[in-house]
Symmetry: C2
Subunit: 202 residues, 2 copies
């Protein structure tokens, strides 16, 4: 839902679209800035509206809850990828992981990701919405695994869901568990390990 | 630090030890119960002391901050393991993962883990303490990888840090990212995938 919004924004020919896109950007930037500076507890609809210079009704129309807002902010930073067919699973996995590392290293994203996870555990959180966001983020890894199986360089008996969980969990756990920014060396090691785990030619 | 406390509690012959152990258990149980029922924001030194029936000075002596307290609560649920030498890396990895799945499925642990991650991102959090806790949790995976290399069934060129991150991240991400409880099927798939990634005989 949030994802469709993000994709449709600014795409159509309507005269209001560019302004709407600017408002969206200002609001989501304000969420990340507040999380980075003062933690997730500082993110309230009031604080975000004030910081972004947007009216609260305009915010509530697009993001009816704080939960929808912080998922949209996370998705604006860590969202969908599209990886072209490179003819090689490992090369495609490297693209996915390198894009994630680049996103994770942007200011405030470490705290945003940890804060989104923490918010999912609060009372009243609609936990399904967080799971759906995670599923969208993992979509590209599932697609390159399926493409590899069709192409023939990924083993057809691969447990795609488990492999996608391993890939997504690696960088995320390094950052929010071990509290270290993932780097290119981790990307290469994960490509190497997952490649041996799922490729026909280990 | 917290870990040493947990291990020394109740071990010595002093007459106060069994009572101390009960107090520790009551306090850490109270943390988990509060997180499970009302979220991490409900965990205050006051609320925990009241729920556990313990004086605040007694709590502050052992856990000087809320951060130390929630890490201790997490470590009481998801802590160190000791896996005997089973002569086979895959068998040992299965023991590690099965123990984690059992811990993760206990009531309140999903919310506790997500809450601990969220708390690590709050302003004022001493983030190194969270990273050190994660490193302790990952210790057993590192040890079985090293033992496998010495034994000869794990490839000597394995990036142990990256492999341990993959293992720890898999179950954690399934739970706090995908919002699904890890199960035995995931354990088997991760044993299979990591086994192919790191074992001499894939």
């Amino acid at each position: 839902m949030v994802d469709k919004q993000a994709h449709s924004t600014g795409r159509g020919p309507g005269p209001g679209r560019p302004r709407q896109e600017r408002v969206t950007g200002a609001v989501l930037d304000a969420v990340v800035a507040l999380v980075a500076e003062r933690g997730m507890s500082a993110v309230t609809m009031d604080a975000v509206a004030m910081r972004a210079g947007v009216s609260k009704p305009a915010m509530y129309r697009r993001w009816p809850t704080k939960q929808a807002l912080i998922i949209a902010a996370a998705e604006a930073r860590i969202g969908l990828l599209e990886v072209p067919d490179l003819g090689d699973f490992r090369a495609e996995l490297r693209v996915v992981l390198a894009a994630r590392v680049e996103a994770y290293r942007r200011p405030g994203v470490d705290r945003l990701l940890a804060g989104v996870i923490g918010a999912s555990a609060e009372v009243g959180a609609e936990r399904g919405a967080y799971g759906e966001y995670a599923a969208r983020v993992m979509g590209e890894t599932r697609r390159i695994l399926e493409r590899g199986i069709d192409r023939g360089d990924v083993r057809p008996d691969t447990d795609i869901a488990a492999a996608a969980t391993l890939v997504a969990g690696s960088l995320a756990f390094r950052m929010v568990g071990e509290q270290r920014l993932p780097d290119d060396a981790l990307v290469e090691s994960v490509v190497d390990l997952i490649g041996r785990a799922v490729c026909v030619n280990p």
